[in-house]
């Protein structure tokens, strides 16, 4: 069949769909590689070992430094103890994290993606394991192409086994944040732990193994929203991993460029050795400029610097730089670096403000709390002696690690008003007058009680009389006042 129709997929067009080509990143050595190793060891060290740090909180509370205790509804973070109603700390932390990401981006592009993101860190670790077992880039390509034999099975098998072990440990460490770590490790080993612990380990083993082992750069390129947002947030002063094309172009192989120089033709420093492409964990060519796939890990800088040193040219053909500086250099002007500019100052100010508010709230965190809810049905009760009674639900909250006692009284009520609390007898406690009672609340708990306030006989009151409940901490003398109302039918 012959065809007169123009082909739709012309070569110059980007295909709408292309299978992701497998990337074989080359291992490199250098400055940024060292920084990445250091961050990897520190961050994974924190992740895997934090649950084992002990923190003494007294006999009643858990002694794990970081523990999210769903069963008792408490979160413990070193010196902090968070109750469910204080989960806004988490909101504050998330806002700081988001703005922190913007700030990082304004200073030096995708610092998060290149060095700190768990996807990057675990992928780096998995890649290292892969190159230890299967060899570096070239050997891995060869191995993948060769038919299955004992060597290939052994190497692939060992790699996947080690990957699964790391993934399993990752899941195992995760569940330790939610229970006493040493006990849980023992229970897990002896098969006594809760089913949910095993299920979560399974889930995280699967996600770590598939995301860090198999999907790798595809997570960054296809799944992660941050590259899209990042591209919209960056500006011309943000440092990015940049190929200095002003110095590199026109590129050409070493000897070719030497010939050009000899002939008096222009020749760049880039010898087109492709080391930057081979080193790239996402398989991009940095010489094409800033792009969505580039996580800016700086490994191409290390690869290029090594080559530049070998061919006797200055390092830094690829470096953290800005487009504006390339333009300035081309015009013969000195490069500018502006760390302090409105964008960074505003981000920093937002972070400082939120951190300040959180710090203030934390420093002024009340260790006790007291709330009052007036009965809604009935609003008041007419007593047989002509007086009125109002009922209230009181909730006392004790965040102290010991039993606290409180003196409860009502204020702004006419003389002769009496206060009763169901289950608390006046004769059982020392009281100086009728309207004062002592309540105790056990350590780290809340106590709900029903309070009854009786107006004095023969005293006319308005339909809604503002009054106050006063709670005095017997130990610290801390006073909590909660305003409420005393209701009557009125005149």
């Amino acid at each position: 069949m012959s065809s007169q129709v123009e082909p739709i997929d012309k070569e110059e067009d980007e295909a709408w769909f292309a299978s992701a080509a497998k990337v074989y990143p080359m291992q490199v050595k250098g400055r940024f590689r060292k920084i990445k190793w250091a961050i990897l060891f520190i961050s994974l060290g924190i992740y895997y070992f934090t649950p084992f740090i002990r923190w003494d909180r007294g006999p009643l509370l858990p002694d794990q430094a970081v523990l999210v205790d769903f069963e008792r509804k408490r979160g413990y973070f070193f010196f902090l103890e968070i109750w469910p109603q204080e989960v806004y700390y988490l909101a504050g932390l998330l806002i700081i994290a988001a703005v922190g990401l913007f700030l990082m981006n304004a200073i030096a592009g995708r610092l998060w993606c290149g060095y700190l993101c768990p996807q990057t860190v675990w992928t780096d670790l998995f890649l290292r394991v892969e190159s230890m077992i299967e060899g570096d880039r070239r050997k891995r390509i060869t191995l993948d192409k060769q038919p299955w034999n004992a060597e290939k099975i052994l190497k692939k098998g060992t790699k996947h086994f080690l990957w699964l072990m790391i993934a399993w440990w990752t899941g195992g460490a995760w569940v330790l944040y939610f229970a006493d770590a040493p006990t849980l490790v023992y229970d897990l080993a002896t098969g006594q732990a809760a089913l949910s612990a095993y299920v979560w380990i399974g889930i995280l083993t699967f996600t770590t193994y598939s995301l860090a082992g198999h999907l790798r750069e595809q997570v960054c390129v296809y799944m992660c929203p941050w590259p899209r947002i990042q591209a919209a947030l960056t500006d011309e002063h943000a440092l990015n991993v940049t190929y200095r094309y002003d110095r590199g172009e026109p590129r050409g192989h070493l000897k070719e460029n030497q010939k050009r120089v000899a002939a008096g033709q222009p020749a760049g420093d880039c010898i087109d050795c492709n080391q930057c492409v081979y080193a790239c964990p996402t398989g991009v060519d940095i010489r094409k400029g800033a792009q969505l796939d580039c996580i800016q890990c700086g490994l191409c800088i290390d690869a290029c610097d090594a080559i530049m040193t070998k061919v006797g040219k200055p390092a830094g053909l690829i470096a953290y730089d800005t487009d504006i500086n390339i333009e300035r250099r081309e015009k013969g002007e000195a490069p500018v670096y502006r760390l302090v500019r409105p964008r960074t100052v505003i981000y920093f100010a937002i972070i400082a403000m939120i951190a300040g508010v959180m710090l203030y709230v934390q420093l002024n965190r009340s260790m006790t709390s007291f709330s009052v809810v007036h009965d809604r049905n009935p609003l008041y009760v007419h007593q047989s002696n002509g007086s009125f009674r109002n009922g209230y639900s009181l909730r006392l909250l004790n965040k102290h690690n010991k039993e606290q006692s409180f003196t409860l009284s009502v204020e702004d009520m006419p003389a002769g008003t009496t206060l009763e609390v169901v289950g608390v007898h006046k004769d059982a406690v020392s009281v100086s007058n009728d309207t004062q009672l002592t309540l105790t609340v056990e350590a780290d708990t809340t106590r709900s009680v029903r309070a009854l306030v009786f107006s004095p006989e023969g005293v006319a009151l308005p339909a809604s009389k503002p009054m106050r409940f006063k709670l005095v901490d017997s130990d610290t003398g801390e006073i909590t006042i909660v305003p409420d109302f005393f209701r009557t039918p009125g005149n």
């Binding site: 069949m1 012959s2 065809s3 129709v5 082909p7 739709i8 997929d9 009965d375 809604r376 049905n377 009935p378 009760v381 007419h382 007593q383 047989s384 002509g386 009674r389 009922g391 009763e420 169901v422 289950g423 007898h425 106590r447 709900s448 029903r450 009854l452």
Partner: protein
């Protein structure tokens, strides 16, 4: 399907399936492998599910599956577990006296929670959600009681009811002075106005209250006592209380003297059990009118 050679479409460079309609050939774009394998996987999963779990409807019933799983059985089991757990704490309530329950914070909390739910389920229909009662159904919030408002009495009333179908039930009946012609109509007017004067209810003009007092002393004082305060021992209402069970007016009193109404409260002990009755007594007492 017929064998066919791989044919590459010249325009797109894509292999065709060999299917052709009027000169148009279908390009072969196979399903993504991950999708295909998940599809096969779910077929396998479905077959395993049929074998293990209840799945296929039959004419009479359904296939039970090897695991013998039933949501109903799980729900029943969970219910039994919950009842057993409740019985555990309930046992402490059973052993403690009502006073002890009120004075022990843990027991009080349990009793109040259980009492609140039981009140809503069983009592609120007549006594109201806020326990404030309706006409003919006593207000449990105020401090005037017919049979008494201390913990023990409340528990007894709840357990055995009033005029209920139970041997131990509380029983009191007022004679129908008008209907049974024990009093003249005028005497009823007089006594009703006299009672009204005791309770600060506006009385009718021109009624002889002294005559009413005589009628009261001859007929009512035995149960309602000298001052009209009633007697909780016999379940006789306090006529001077700020709240009446029925209409609190002279006309209302006359209607009651003429043909008294007698409400019934069921005995709850057999239906709810001792633990819940105790919780209810503590809960009702805690509303504030308890003695």
């Amino acid at each position: 399907m017929a064998e066919h050679k791989k044919e590459i479409d010249q325009v797109t460079g894509v292999e065709t399936t060999g299917h052709e309609w009027d000169g148009l050939k279908e390009l072969n774009h196979p399903l993504p492998k991950w999708w295909l394998y998940m599809f096969y996987g779910s077929i396998v999963w479905a077959v395993i599910y049929w074998i293990l779990m209840p799945s296929w409807p039959l004419v009479n019933g359904y296939t039970k599956g090897l695991l013998d799983y039933s949501q109903r059985a799980v729900a029943t089991r969970n219910f039994d577990v919950a009842v057993a757990e409740r019985a555990e704490t309930g046992k402490m309530l059973l052993e403690a006296s009502l006073e002890e329950i009120q004075n022990t914070p843990e027991l009080l909390e349990f009793a109040m929670t259980q009492g609140k739910v039981a009140f809503g389920d069983n009592c609120a229909a007549c006594h109201g959600v806020g326990a404030t009662g309706f006409e003919g159904y006593p207000n449990l919030q105020d401090d005037s009681w017919i049979w008494g408002g201390d913990l023990e009495t409340l528990a007894t009333t709840i357990a055995y009811g009033v005029r209920a179908d139970n041997d131990e039930t509380r029983y009191a009946e007022m004679p129908a002075f008008g209907r049974d012609e024990l009093l003249e109509k005028e005497q009823i007017v007089q006594v009703a106005n006299y009672v009204g004067s005791l309770a600060d209810i506006p009385t009718q003009d021109g009624v002889d209250l002294e005559a009413g007092k005589v009628v009261y002393e001859e007929n009512c004082v035995v149960c309602h006592m000298d001052n009209g305060k009633g007697d909780m021992e016999t379940g006789t209402p306090n006529l001077t209380a700020p709240n009446y069970l029925y209409d609190r007016s002279v006309e209302g009193i006359m209607a009651q003297v003429n043909t008294p109404r007698h409400g019934v409260m069921p005995a709850w002990i057999e239906r709810l059990g001792e633990t819940t009755v105790k919780s209810l007594a503590v809960y009702v007492h805690s509303r504030g009118g308890g003695q």
